[in-house]
Symmetry: C2
Subunit: 523 residues, 2 copies
């Protein structure tokens, strides 16, 4: 693992025998990090419950859809569902889904597909044992150590996009890392999408906040990729998270997002927001049964719009803090729900989305244990896409620059952990063991010398000095080291190449749409 | 999960409808915690490598034992091995083990057994899917926030034993939590074993540092349990960790420990100390192949002494920091090795020991992520015993009071995570979902109200307040909260009941043996 390293701009190069990670770190190319690579699980994901239990949850969710139904708030969506065989109430927004209909439509969703980025080297394979890590998204606040916590603004938005871009462990943008609240929401999607497409070349996300915003984003993605509509329609190139309004509702903008994007074969990620004890039953089995019902309803909707359109099964079930009612993350219940969501998604052969999250206010032990526990559930649950995996704090209320670097370190550790273990005569090292013999030492032997520089993951943040050296150095903290690295990574950031004509076309599009007033809002 | 809670003395009581965890925490009974319970995995442990790869590692380790062999430093042990069919070199300490002999002896080790504590309620089941968490052991230094770091002493030793006792998430003592260096080593085992047996009623460990120390400890365990020798010989009541002197050596005290304890049917935990890149090959496959060879040799030795004697397969393979040569813990390589060790132990149907560890100097994010990563490897690897799981820092050079409480919180989270998910009509909550309906809220319904107080794990340390409240409170840290809890737990500590005559007999034994000079040392 880790036979080569890269400069911060993401280009891979073979490491020479005399270079070292330390040397790279000091170079103008920025801190050393692992090369860009989409990880895969080499082992079977964890099956938390028995097949019988899984079937019971499946059946319960079909009963929920058949007997209780969902409120589908958009008229066009209800018409489509009615035509597809759903039982649409004449006097309300309630839609009931027969189980045959659900299973029929769910079966047409693809098990695997490629999500295209502006830079083809950043394309992501979704499904199977593939996984990918997304940057924090949709927080109202940002922070760094020097500036503390503040409301989201354009400068922080752009810097977080740049940092997400330069970190190889971040595979896609899950949205705006922070909301730039200084840009009016009528035109925010235009400015932000241009920034995402020009400051980075990784896969991007479009918010479903009314049909026109989806259309604007899709058109800008088309321009940035330099495709015609026909080609775009066969290459999923942008995703949109569709949160159900749990319990059991799909609201108008979300339904419009599905109708816009599924019709164009773009990726929809259905993610019920089923907080156990609040928007879902207090029991994990019940909360996940409801999650499953809502996810299946959303998946059906995508397939009603267009059979074969790419869609992911999102799991976000967590529990609330029963003292305050606020959501908790990285809890034992979160881990169970994350594993269970993966097991259900695999039952339907639909790629699975989970998250790397925490509720912590500080970049402390709690932030780390909640984040790693959530990653434990997501990774062992076989998640194909792990959102919010770099930079998320406070249950999603804040994006932290230092947390983004800390998380990138954790994600690189997971990437290393997920590298398939090579078991062959060379790695089994019988000759080296014979050469060293009982009581010897391995450092000097050729087997070690040929490999020691890159044999193990070399963490960006961990302080492995002994106590005395660490004490003498003034007992530096992880946060301080992360702060330094944020600066170094941002300094190493380079704008990725994009043909000038595409940039000009993007700028023209934004200018025109801004002049038109963007998307009218009532404020 | 968590339908009942307990006071800090460990007694379980059913929680009344009106009591709350917060109220319990303020009571004289000490901070609220989960009841004593030995967790089990409800799911299959992770299989990191394919069966073919596992077989290749197995075969490689058999070749190591057959062709290279081990240095077995004790003459008596070599005689026993020779009589059992091993190929003992006449002119050296080298012993080679034919593969048939290895497989024959390994097959006689029991797959499951009970480890007896002074208090039968603290007995531990070893093997199968059972797991148990041990306290930090064998560190030369201790620390708390108020007193910073200092050399091990009797007061810290006793307080850490008390804290390990009062924490229900700690299932056994893995040794001395810190070395009381103020007690001369000729008599340290006598004083410490008496303390362990009287200050706590959980399973204890005896260090293998020469036959007489093993005998003294075993005799004291016999006294504390109030048994005769015959009964002791059928009830494993004490364990000893046997570290190989990697690579490929078993030293005299360790071999004597096996001969003393296996002969008396007491538990031996063979744990090779195979640090990849130092005492083992730099490749994880090679390091684990060597670990496996050393573990198998130790297991064979126990079965040569007494067929059927309880023994565990210990995995401690980690990597060194290639910059400094010091051991690293909770690394990606550690996780792979922990999973692989479990897979090998299950192949031999021998209970598996792993560890919860970190290299951190501070109780910071690094301490948390390394600890949780190591627990991830251990738990998903199906470890039946997880040593050092509460209080370990600095790669084993320090026991921290606050870390012990933080780890107890993490272990309780894992205990909750490992509770089997109940999937039935009640937990699937169809009626509650129907009652709430689309757009409703679950907090008010009977299904929630009947369960909300204990539906979710309520962490001891996590700060889940919103940022504003946390900021107003002066941004308190996890360490500060842990410090407070240490005090509260120690205040709630009560000496467990032990018949007076046994205490008197223990005291007499210690007094007599101390008067005899304990075990002679050359310093």
């Amino acid at each position: 693992m880790g036979d080569d390293t890269v400069d911060a701009s993401g280009g891979r190069r073979r490491r020479g025998g005399r270079s070292s990670k330390r040397a790279d770190r000091a170079s103008a190319a920025g801190p050393s990090q692992l090369p860009w690579r989409q990880p895969s699980l080499a082992f079977e994901p964890t099956r938390l419950v028995s097949d019988d239990q899984l079937e019971a949850i499946h059946i319960a969710s079909l009963s929920i859809l058949e007997d209780i139904g969902m409120d589908v708030l958009d008229t066009d969506a209800r018409h489509l569902l009615s035509a597809a065989g759903a039982d649409v109430d004449a006097d309300s927004e309630r839609v009931r889904f027969g189980r045959e209909m659900v299973l029929d439509y769910v079966a047409s969703a693809p098990a695997e597909f490629t999500l295209h980025a502006v830079n083809p080297e950043r394309n992501l394979r979704m499904g199977g044992r593939h996984t990918a890590f997304g940057a924090v998204a949709s927080t109202p606040n940002a922070s760094d150590i020097a500036g503390d916590r503040r409301s989201g603004n354009t400068a922080d938005f752009r810097n977080l996009v740049k940092l997400s871009h330069v970190l190889n462990a971040v595979h896609l943008h899950g949205g705006y890392p922070v909301e730039p609240t200084d840009i009016h929401s009528s035109v925010r999607h235009l400015h932000c999408t241009r920034d995402l497409l020009t400051l980075s070349d990784k896969v991007i996300h479009a918010y479903s906040l009314g049909r026109q915003r989806n259309r604007d984003c899709l058109e800008m993605v088309r321009i940035a990729r330099g495709l015609d509509d026909e080609r775009l329609d066969i290459e999923p190139s942008v995703l949109s998270i569709i949160n159900t309004s749990s319990p059991l509702r799909l609201d108008i903008p979300m339904l419009q997002g599905i109708m816009e994007f599924s019709a164009r074969n773009q990726l929809i990620v259905i993610t019920p927001f089923t907080l156990a004890g609040a928007m879902a039953p207090v029991t994990i089995a019940g909360a996940v049964a409801q999650q499953n019902a809502e996810a299946l309803a959303g998946i059906v909707m995508t397939q009603v719009v267009r059979r074969g359109a790419p869609v992911m099964y999102g799991g976000f079930t967590s529990n609330v803090d029963m003292k305050s009612g606020s959501p908790a993350f990285g809890t034992p219940e979160y881990m169970q729900a994350a594993l269970l969501g993966g097991q259900l998604a695999r039952r339907y052969r639909i790629p699975y989305r989970s998250s790397g999250v925490c509720a912590a206010n500080a970049l402390d032990a709690q932030a780390a244990w909640e984040t790693v526990f959530s990653l434990w559930g997501a990774v062992m649950g076989g998640a194909n896409m792990i959102f919010h995996a770099a930079g998320w704090m406070e249950g999603g209320l804040r994006a932290s620059f230092e947390k983004m670097v800390m998380d990138a370190d954790l994600l690189q550790m997971l990437q290393t952990f997920l590298e398939p273990l090579i078991v062959d005569d060379t790695t089994l090292a019988f000759e080296a063991i014979a050469q060293v013999g009982p009581g010897g030492h391995f450092f000097g032997v050729a087997h070690t010398q040929a490999r020691y520089e890159n044999a193990f993951y070399s963490p960006m943040l961990s302080d492995w000095r002994n106590f005395e050296s660490w004490d003498e150095a003034g007992r530096p903290t992880v946060e301080q080291k992360a702060e330094t690295l944020v600066g170094e990574f941002l300094e190493a950031y380079r704008t990725p190449a994009l043909p000038e004509d595409r940039i000009a076309e993007l700028d023209d599009y934004v200018a025109r749409r801004v002049a038109e007033g963007g998307v009218k809002t009532d404020f």
